[in-house]
Amino acid sequence: MTRSRYAAAALSTLLALGGGTSAAAATSATQQAGYLAANCANCHGTDGRSAGGGGMPGLAGLSSAYFIEQMRLFRDGKRQATIMHQIAKGYTEEQVAALAGYFAGQSAAPGGAQGGAARAGAVK
């Protein structure tokens, strides 16, 4: 399944980063990638499930290859953006790969954008 693919990607990322202590190696790659992916949730929704509206896209379920390519285009200034060209430059290729794996392993919100918006309660 997608899950194991992303776990493998994230694990190789940890190894590429030099991993750290043996204690840290016990942290699952899934968990570690999840910690990093939470950086994106402020704008793109928890686990990449956007509440919709405002044009802020969700990331959940995007293919890993597509995610990595877009981040590369943002970073190189080849895809027009208001902000992502600035943020993409802050992450290493290994981190982008871990993020790509994580979001590829997430299912989009039930009911899509509408389902997400309903969760927002009083939010206008």
Partner: protein
């Protein structure tokens, strides 16, 4: 509904916790409801086996996020209690739009019920004291309890004593509106009541303060209101700082563009006194600036509970933290978040940043409860500022931990600001609000 790894049993448990917390909020069933049961070992453990009792103090952008993610990452075995003195969350970001007239405070007011549904025990109460060593906490209404770890996200207090004459009586008419809520609504009413041709005076404290671009966004919002409703009115900005502290070029584009002639910006003007009877601000140099609406933002400091707990160790104002775990350098086991921290280089005191602090603390606590070594976090910030009712500009940054310096620092070459305010970014800013509120409250 979210679907968790542990499936059915997890969701059942969440439901149980949700109802327990509802009882607690209503004052029935004793202190902290289910948290008491957990100490008997009755609670089922998560797949990860993580166990622990964590108290989160303060349900703002930092604390609510920490509570949500402690539950998300820690699973059923981590008992998370959030104590907050207000019944609802009210967002500071976007609250300047209430002054501008394009939002109501109700639009920025959200319930904590989503966190309760996610398994956080939400308690409406106030902390009286925290023992730094035993982590025993006393409350106004709830019986005292000890916790394995404490997350303190108390926000800022305003140092009224730094402005002579700004006593309790004067504070009834001279507002700060630097914490969203009744003050925001009251300041809007003052602006509405002001006659056309009046003067609004805003005093900005020396940095660091909560929300670096906030005062300049506020200037734009009041200017937008005046331009559309009271075009003969003027704005005087008395800035204690030597210059505009955030997005300077972008704000000047607006002030010299759509608001030309309306705004008198005066740098290096520190207000140290008010004459409340005459609605007059007095600077340290003795200048007297008379206002129809006087809006003073006093200097900011970590909220009082951080002072009382002995966590404030930087300039008698801020709490120094370890940027891997967010733990106070004064008290391991107490993680301090958000505006109360001594900011890392180029790290703003923002709601977005507090959210990232909350996640860093939650990750570190889950790792520590599992006997593992937390890995250094990455953090990112985005602050959107509304220059009128539709157009927005941003400042963004990415922060990476440097193990040599033991400090989190901005990544060189990353981040930046908008080229100009736009309606497109206005749309993104609204999307940001929706998503970050969901991210912290559901």
């Amino acid at each position: 509904m979210k679907i968790n790894d542990s499936g059915f049993s997890r969701r059942r448990f969440t439901k149980t916790l949700g109802s327990a917390s509802a009882l607690t909020v209503l004052g029935a069933g004793g202190a902290f409801g289910l948290a008491g049961c957990a100490s008997t070992g009755a609670a089922p453990s998560a797949a990860s086996g993580t166990q622990g009792r964590v108290l989160v103090i303060g349900g703002g952008y930092g604390g609510a996020t920490a509570a949500k993610y402690l539950k998300k990452w820690g699973g059923a075995g981590v008992q998370v209690t959030l104590v907050e003195r207000q019944q609802h969350f009210i967002s500071c970001p976007l609250s300047n739009l209430v002054l501008g007239g394009s939002r109501r405070i109700e639009d920025l007011t959200l319930p904590y019920s989503g966190l309760a549904e996610a398994g956080v025990v939400v308690v409406r109460d106030e902390v009286l004291s925290i023992d730094r060593v035993t982590r025993k906490v006393t409350f106004v209404r709830t019986p005292e309890q000890s916790f394995d770890r404490i997350v303190l996200s108390p926000g800022v207090d305003l140092n009224f004593s730094a402005v002579q004459g700004l006593d309790d009586e004067a504070q009834k008419t001279i507002l700060h509106a630097w914490k969203a809520g009744p003050q925001t609504v009251a300041l809007r009413r003052q602006l509405e009541a002001m006659p056309d041709g009046g003067v609004y005076v805003l005093s900005i404290p020396l940095a660091p303060y909560r929300c670096p671009p906030g005062p300049y966004e506020r200037t734009c919002q009041v200017a937008h209101y005046f331009k559309t409703h009271k075009p003969r009115s003027k704005i005087v900005v008395l800035d204690a700082n030597p210059d505009i502290t955030s997005k300077k070029g972008l704000f000047l584009q607006e002030w010299n563009g759509q608001y030309k002639g309306m705004i008198d910006y005066q740098p290096n003007m520190k207000v140290t006194e008010v004459d409340a009877r005459n609605r007059t601000a007095i600077t340290e140099l003795g200048d007297r600036i008379e206002a129809d609406v006087l809006n003073i933002v006093p200097p900011n400091t970590s909220a009082e509970i951080a002072h009382r707990t002995g966590l404030v160790n930087a300039n008698d104002r801020w709490c120094t933290v370890d940027w891997v775990t967010m733990e106070s350098t004064e008290a391991p086991g107490i993680h301090v978040l958000g505006d109360a921290t001594l900011s890392a280089p180029a790290m703003p005191k923002s709601g977005h940043m507090a959210n990232q602090h909350g996640k860093a603390a939650a990750a570190a606590i889950v790792e520590l409860l599992n006997g593992r070594t937390p890995q250094p976090p990455m953090m990112a910030n985005t602050c959107y500022s509304f220059v009128d009712d539709k157009r927005v500009m941003h400042v963004a940054s990415v922060h990476r931990y440097d193990p040599q310096k033991k400090m989190i620092e901005p990544v060189a070459g990353a981040g930046g600001v908008s080229t100009a305010a736009s309606e497109l970014e206005g749309s993104y800013a609204n999307g940001w609000a929706r998503n970050i509120w969901n991210d912290m409250l559901t």
